[in-house]
């Protein structure tokens, strides 16, 4: 039925199967929307946040998706500015993931603030000294950039591309994409950094606070760096997942390996600097404020040294080495593990820098403040995941996201076998493709 919309030269699963999977994900989405409406209509009492935990699951999700969306800016930087031409084969997907991450982040922020209708005060009454202002400005601007980068993809849909104006528009946008990418890289650099600055500048929160270079705390640079390192890991991870679900190769190994290698070196340098930062903070910064390292990791029900180990060693040094060393990088299984750990590392880091900062009692007569998110918080956090899956499904089905797909998967005569498990796979993961589906349904009969 929708064959006319599907890019030329690629196979997609039958429409009912696609719609079925879409429906399942949409139910999750609607659950999230319901929770979101509850938060908007009834207020933030729907959450389990409190006055000790003003920032909680959402802000973590925000920081995490933005870090993971960092693949977009960094791949763009490599592709358009540094000129790593091979990356053009993955840049579309990176942009798509970036777009999803950033739009999700903005949505979550829209739920998280107590007065969403006044959210624009952050622009209108901007306090330039606030890291959050910097975040808001750069985040929004960079979201524009991502839109600009994503729009040509949409315009390349077979049907839209037929309209001459849109065809020309997408062509022109491609022409000057480097300018946009450069602006985006600049913006992204700053807001990734300013997100790091958010806890880094809290001089009365010794766990988050870091020394400064000019106005920027070390976390400013660490966040940008880690986003550049872990974002590409996430891009690779999702690409691999998409490949696994669609059961076809979408990006050539050399492209993935190049990106993995760069991510590996970024991660290695990042974790090296992060380790130094942690040691300096633990033995200089924190004691200067009257705290010893042990205090931050003991006497509570959750945060132990394990989280430090998880972040720095398991999700830092380990994937860094796995990606830097050619032999392990080119081992498919180890690559999977490495990019997974890399992405997880960013998420753990963001968790620590948001939630652990607030969990620690600074007043000597207060207790640790631990919290468990309410279902409304969980649902609204899953909402963007569902939304992302839907967007990937639609984009993958109707837009030429992977330029190498056609070459890697030449259309062959129909295979007789049918994989019944495919539908189930499609429910859970961001791809919709079932390579084993009968070819007949893909015929553009209804076009």
């Amino acid at each position: 039925m929708d064959a006319a919309l599907i890019p030329k030269g690629v196979k997609r699963c039958p429409l009912p199967q696609f719609l079925g999977a879409l429906t399942v994900v949409s139910v999750v989405l609607l659950w999230g929307v319901y929770a979101m409406l509850l938060c908007w209509l009834k207020g933030l009492n729907q959450t389990n946040m409190n006055n000790a935990y003003g920032f909680a699951l959402w802000i973590w999700a925000d920081l995490a998706v933005i870090a993971l969306g960092g693949g977009a800016f960094f791949t763009g930087l490599l592709r358009y500015i540094i000129g790593k031409d091979e990356l053009k084969n993955i840049i579309n997907f990176a942009v798509l993931l970036g777009f999803i991450c950033y739009s999700s982040a903005l949505l979550i922020l829209g739920i998280d603030v107590g007065q969403p209708l006044r959210g624009w005060f952050i622009f209108w009454h901007a306090n330039v000294h606030s890291m959050l202002t910097e975040v808001a400005f750069c985040l929004t601007c960079y979201f524009f950039v991502l839109c600009i980068e994503y729009v040509p993809l949409v315009l390349e849909n077979r049907q839209i591309d037929r309209v001459p104006f849109f065809h020309n528009l997408s062509h022109n946008m491609h022409e000057i994409m480097a300018v946009f990418a450069a602006t985006g890289a600049f913006l992204s650099f700053f807001h990734q950094g300013s997100l790091g600055g958010v806890s880094g500048v809290l001089f009365a929160r010794p766990f988050g606070f870091r020394e400064h270079i000019l106005i920027w705390p070390y976390t400013f640079f660490l966040f940008t760096w880690s986003a550049a390192a872990c974002g590409p890991c996430f891009t690779i991870l999702i690409t691999k997942i998409t490949e696994a679900i669609s059961r076809k190769k979408l990006v050539k190994d050399n492209v993935i390996r190049l990106l993995a290698k760069i991510a590996g070196w970024m991660l290695l340098t990042y974790i090296f600097v992060k380790t130094i930062d942690t040691i300096y903070w633990a033995f200089v910064t924190a004691p200067s404020k009257g705290f010893v390292l042990n205090f931050f990791y003991t006497d509570n029900a959750f945060y132990g040294y394990w989280i430090l180990f998880l972040e720095i060693v398991l999700c830092g040094w380990v994937p860094a080495f796995l990606l830097v060393v050619k032999k392990t990088r080119e081992n498919n299984k180890l690559l999977w593990i490495a990019v997974f750990l890399g992405a997880l590392g960013a998420m753990v880091n963001r968790w620590v820098m948001v939630l652990q900062v607030l969990a620690i009692p600074v007043l000597p007569f207060e207790n640790w403040a631990l919290y468990i998110p309410s279902w409304q918080e969980v649902a609204t956090t899953i909402l963007p995941v569902a939304y992302g899956i839907i967007l990937v499904m639609i984009s993958f089905r109707y837009m030429p996201i992977f330029p190498q797909e056609q070459e890697l998967n030449p259309i062959e005569p129909p295979t007789p076998e049918v994989e019944p498990a495919a539908a189930a796979d499609a429910e859970e993961t961001p791809a919709d493709e079932d390579p084993a589906a009968p070819e007949g349904d893909l015929q553009p009969a209804q076009a």
Binding site: N50, G54, F291
Partner: protein, 266 residues
């Protein structure tokens, strides 16, 4: 930055006198239209500008000892007015007033991002998780000098700034240049039956508060009074609320929080 006759309003709370009765809390609630709910036992959800903490010395019976510590907003001056919360507010909804030393909060400007709450180590900033509701007829006791806060914004102790405004108006009306010490007092100071709270201008050597706090301005206001301490002084928050205690363990617990760290280390 500092104006010629700038005020630096501050407080001294004598913990030897404070009995932890809670009058300061109630006086504040009544003065500042603080809402109340059926269940206020979760103190992390409860809006109370003034909160009285109970400190324990950690010793076993019968050597156990307790001390009560009222905690209003500390009105941090930081370095040059750089209080932890003010600089982080993205929408300029909170401000450090260099002419009074008071950290203000504009409720209609705040859009509820709660960054300031994350920044404040004293938990003085409180979020309105619920719409404020007064049972039918009870809204009659609302004070028109203080606006009621809508759901979704952050609020905090203002050192009863509205009282300063009223006193200033009166002084201007009577063509007096200055507001006298007793003309501007916070509701908690006035309410405290123990007289444990002293409020005034820390820049004015004639004010009782200055006499007690003995701030050393060359050391960011650190007190010269050996009985005095400020909460978490070492963080550099440079607060304007001084505490007096003759008990060493109280001073150590409130000020030198390394004690706690050391306990944890041991």
């Amino acid at each position: 930055m500092k104006k010629e006759n700038a005020k630096r309003f501050g407080m001294v709370i004598d913990l030897d006198k404070c009995t932890g009765c809670g009058s300061c809390m109630v006086a504040c609630m009544a003065e500042n239209n603080v809402p109340f709910r059926e269940d206020e036992t979760d103190k992390l959800l409860s809006v109370a500008w003034m909160r009285v903490y109970k400190l324990t010395n950690g010793k076993a019976f019968p050597d156990a000892d307790e001390c009560f510590l009222p905690r209003p907003c500390q009105h941090c001056e930081g370095h040059h007015g750089h209080s932890p919360c003010v600089s982080v507010c993205p929408a300029t909804a909170t401000d450090y007033d260099a002419s009074t030393g008071i950290v203000s909060q504009i409720y209609t400007r705040c859009f509820g991002c709660r960054y300031c709450m994350a920044a404040c180590p004293y938990h003085v900033r409180l979020f309105n998780w619920w719409d404020p509701v007064w049972p039918d007829g009870m809204e009659k006791m609302l004070n028109p000098d203080v606006s009621v806060r809508m759901r979704g914004v952050v609020e905090k102790c203002s050192f009863c700034f509205h009282r300063y405004q009223l006193a200033r108006q009166q002084a201007d009306y009577e063509e007096r240049g200055e507001v006298a010490e007793n003309e501007y007092q916070t509701a908690c100071t006035q309410g405290c039956p123990a007289g444990a709270i002293v409020f005034g201008d820390l820049n004015n050597p004639d004010h009782e508060v200055t006499r007690l706090a003995q701030p050393d301005l060359s050391h960011e206001g650190k007190s010269r009074n050996p009985k005095a301490f400020r909460l978490l002084e070492r963080l550099g928050t440079n607060t304007k609320v001084y505490y007096l205690s003759s008990r060493e363990w109280v001073r150590r617990l409130g000020d030198n929080y390394q004690v706690k760290a050391a306990q944890h280390q041991a």
